[in-house]
Every structure is written in structure tokens, then in C-alpha cells.
Amino acid sequence: MKPLSIRDLSVSFGALRVLHDISFDVRAGECFGLVGESGSGKSTVLSCAAMLWSQWTGRVEIDGVSVQDMSPAERCRTLQMVFQDPYGSLHPRHAIRTVLSEPLKIQGFDNRDARMEQALGDVGLPVDFLDRYPHQLSGGQRQRVAIARALIVEPDVLLLDEPTSALDVSVQAEILNLLAKLRDEKGFTYIMVSHDLAVVDHMCDRFAVMQTGRVVEVLDHDAISSNGATEPYARELIAASLEYERIA
């Protein structure tokens, strides 16, 4: 288990500043949520931490090592990302075997077949799925494959970008249960972006509320049900979610 810390992370696209000095710490083995409206910069934080976008300033450290100083291979062994839309994040013409074996080849793992079978087993899919293509899988099965692809290189940190918002509630329940189980078994540290505070309350220990590229407040998950936020925007967001849930 490794902790992650973000210090003064800032990003500008030309004249437009999209992230303003983002700082927070994620404890080892913790599930940390990022919430806020669309456009508030939640996903951008993940893209920067994963170096999918590298034009930023500040520091992102995993267990004291800056992600900017890691080699790409080392970085991918340390952190992996799961994206929102399982329909868009798997190559449509690659069989699941290709999807899972590529990271193993790149990282020079041995026993590839055994590892692929293990990874599929970990996410609750049968081994014969290795020879299927994404279009032969349902949305929930695809998201399981995306999670298997992330955990097959034995990372320490998983960055989850709205991992269930494209899925039905019944499938969401399966994926959330799976993520909770994997965290218990393998001790991952999660950062989870979500717009659904019920999911955050269910999964996360603490979470940061973001607005227009800033972290407004970092709260414990207990603060949701009691609306224990002090910043006006965080209160408004939590109140809206509570009201939606209550009347809905």
C-alpha cells in the first residue's frame, strides 16, 4: 500500500487556467473521492497524476516518488487508470487476450497465461472470455475487463474516472462490490471521480469537493449524511444530493 500526495497542481490551457493549486493527500489503502460539477476539473486531476497530460506544474508523489521522475514503465507499474465509458476504452478489434497480454509484454512479466487467467478470475469473469471481443460483452463485463487490465500489472494506485456512471444500477452494484473486494484483497489506494455522492459515501473514506478548478473542501464521508461541510459550495452540492435522494 502506498500513499499519494498532490501539491500545488496547476494546469493552464493557453490563457485559461483549469486547475488552481490543487493539493490533497491520499493515505495508503484509502479510497479518496473527487466530486464536483462537470467542468470542475476532477478528471483533469487524474489525467495529470497519470501523466496522460504532462503540461502541469506542482508535484504528484506516490510513496515519496514524483510521477514526473518515474520512467513510463515504472509509472505504469505504480498507477493505473480505469475510464468512465467501457464502450470507448477497449480496442474494438482486440480480443480480451490481446488487451490483457499487452501490458504484460510491455512490463516483461513472465507466466503471462497464468496471470491473465488470474486477473479474469479476480474480476469474476470466466477464462474463456480471453478469446472474446469487446462487442461480445455487456457494459458491466467490459468494465470488468478494463479493471482486469489495470490490475494485471500489480499497481499500487488505481485512478477511477467515473467507473460506474455509464452503467445501470444493477451493474454498478456489481462493479462497486468488486472494487471494494479488490481493495480489501490487494490493498489498492483508490482515487475515484464521481458525480454521485451516494456512490462516494458508499465507497470513499474521504473526498474533495471541487469547483472551477479548485479544491473547495476536503471532507470525511460521514459529512455527507449530516451535511457537515462548511464551504458554501460544498454545502450546496451535498444539500442538492440529499434533497434529490430524499424526495427521489
Partner: protein
């Protein structure tokens, strides 16, 4: 029910080349009430909505009866449908980003909905559109009239969409996931505006949604769809007493704020749900 807006009996829809029908033997009547249609993706709920609007030219639609007021939707010609669609029945789509024309002013698009169906001077249509923008609680309506879709927020875009669809005083509005693309902070506001106008004008509303708990609050009755069929019909208030295991499974799988952090109950699907008669 006296004088229903919609009377549908045994409607089935099959897409060209598909192995089986996407909607099977769906029957319901709709008065001047709010009906929710709930189901997972792929359950056929949006197909049903589009079939009612006759927006599926290549699909094979069969029914014993498909009556919208005095219009027989099964046999109406496209020419007749053009007079009905957008005038007497209209549809609110999910995401204003993709359903408004990006290169035309929002207000002109609203006014167009009016001018398509009523002969009037442009200035009159503009005034109608501005009034309608005010009705959906947009401040500075005449300024917003001249904005392009990329210049408005998602919540405002969806209110513009609602304005466009209600401007012609339809009797039936089909709202297909009207708020699922919106942030939670504006979702309720948009729903309340839609709800207020629908009640005030006595419109029959069909609300298609994957969100059971949302439908509970903004509808009178709920149809639960699974694999193209209606498996259960409930009064929205009695949703907690749902008997069908599918409905109960959907309700249980939803994480709740302060709902504990145990393992979420997972839906166990029973192949029998696809065949057994609706409850």
C-alpha cells in the same frame, strides 16, 4: 379511463435485421397524468418512446391498437404525422449538447417550433419564444434568445429544450431521460419546472428514465420494463411495495447516502422474467 391521450395495446417493435423484437406486447393507456417508464439500458424503454412518435422508419411496428387521441398512430401517413409531431406530441431528449442545433441561436430554434405549426409573423413567434423562456424560469429571456447553444449551461440548455417542446401546447410530452446529463445541483430545478408546466397545462407526460427513485417523485404511475416487456405496473407511491423481483432488485442495488457500506445486493436475473405475464 375516459378519454385517454394514448391507448396502446400489444405494441411490438422489431428493428430491421434484429433477431428478436426490442419491445414486446406492451399495453398501457395514458390519461392526463404522468407515467414513468423505467428499466435498464437495452430494456426497450427509449425504443417504445420513439415508436410512439413514429420516429423509427426502418423498424417493424405491430400493435392491436395504437391510438393517440383521434390519430391512429399505426396507419397515419407521414404527412399526417408531421402535423402531429412537435405540435400535439413532442419529445424532450437527454442531452441538450447534442439535441440543439449548434449553429443556430437558441431562441430561433424555439420560435421555429412555433412557426412550423402556426402561421404568424416572425416578431410574434419571437415574442412567444421569449415568453416561453420566461415560463421555464430563464432570467433575461430576450438576451438568452440570442445565445448559441455552446454559450448556455447544460441546465439552461435543457430548459430551452423544454420551452421548445411545450411552446405548441402539446397534449402529450415524452421525456427521454430529461435530466440524466445534468449535474445534481440543477437536476431538481429542471424537473420541477417540467413538472410544474406539465401539471399546469394538463399535459400527458411519459417520463423515460433508468432512475426508479426519480420517477417515484415525478410520476403518478410507473411501468417497469425488462427485456422489452412490461413486467410490473405500479402506482409511484407504492414503489416500495413492488412485488416483482426485478423491481425489488433494482431498488436494492442503488447505494444510498448513509446506507451503510456493506456489499450491495446484486440483481440475480431469472430467464422466466422474459416470458411470464406482467403483474
Amino acid at each position: 379511463m375516459s378519454d385517454p391521450v394514448l391507448d396502446i395495446r400489444n405494441l411490438s417493435v422489431r428493428y430491421a435485421g434484429a433477431p428478436g423484437p426490442a419491445v414486446r406486447d406492451v399495453s398501457f393507456t395514458l390519461g392526463r397524468e404522468r407515467l414513468g417508464i423505467v428499466g435498464e439500458s437495452g430494456s426497450g424503454k427509449s425504443t417504445l418512446g420513439r415508436a410512439l412518435m413514429r420516429l423509427l422508419p426502418s423498424a417493424e411496428i405491430t400493435a392491436e391498437r395504437m391510438q393517440f387521441e383521434d390519430v391512429d398512430l399505426l396507419n397515419a401517413t407521414e404527412r399526417q404525422m408531421l402535423k402531429v409531431r412537435g405540435r400535439r406530441m413532442s419529445m424532450i431528449l437527454q442531452d441538450p449538447k447534442f439535441s440543439l442545433n449548434p449553429i443556430r441561436k437558441c431562441g430561433d430554434q424555439i420560435a421555429e417550433a412555433y412557426r412550423t405549426h402556426f402561421r404568424c409573423r416572425p416578431a410574434e413567434a419571437r415574442q412567444k419564444a421569449v415568453d416561453m423562456l420566461e415560463a421555464v424560469q430563464i432570467r433575461e429571456a430576450s438576451r438568452v434568445y440570442d445565445l448559441y447553444p455552446h454559450e448556455v449551461s447544460g441546465g439552461m440548455g435543457q430548459r430551452i429544450m423544454i420551452a421548445m417542446m411545450l411552446l405548441t401546447d402539446p397534449d402529450l410530452v415524452i421525456a427521454d431521460e430529461p435530466t440524466s446529463a445534468l449535474d445534481v445541483t440543477v437536476r431538481l430545478e429542471v424537473l420541477r419546472i417540467l413538472d410544474g408546466l406539465v401539471r399546469e397545462k394538463g399535459i400527458g407526460l411519459v417520463m423515460i428514465s433508468h432512475d426508479l427513485s426519480l420517477v417515484r417523485n415525478f410520476c403518478d404511475r410507473v411501468l417497469i420494463m425488462y427485456a422489452g416487456r412490461v413486467v410490473e405496473t405500479l402506482n409511484a407511491r407504492e414503489l416500495d411495495q413492488a412485488r416483482h423481483p426485478y423491481t425489488r432488485g433494482l431498488l436494492a442495488a442503488q447505494p444510498r447516502i448513509a446506507g451503510g457500506r456493506g456489499i450491495l445486493p446484486v440483481l440475480k436475473r431469472d430467464p422466466a422474467w422474459e416470458e411470464e405475464p406482467a403483474r
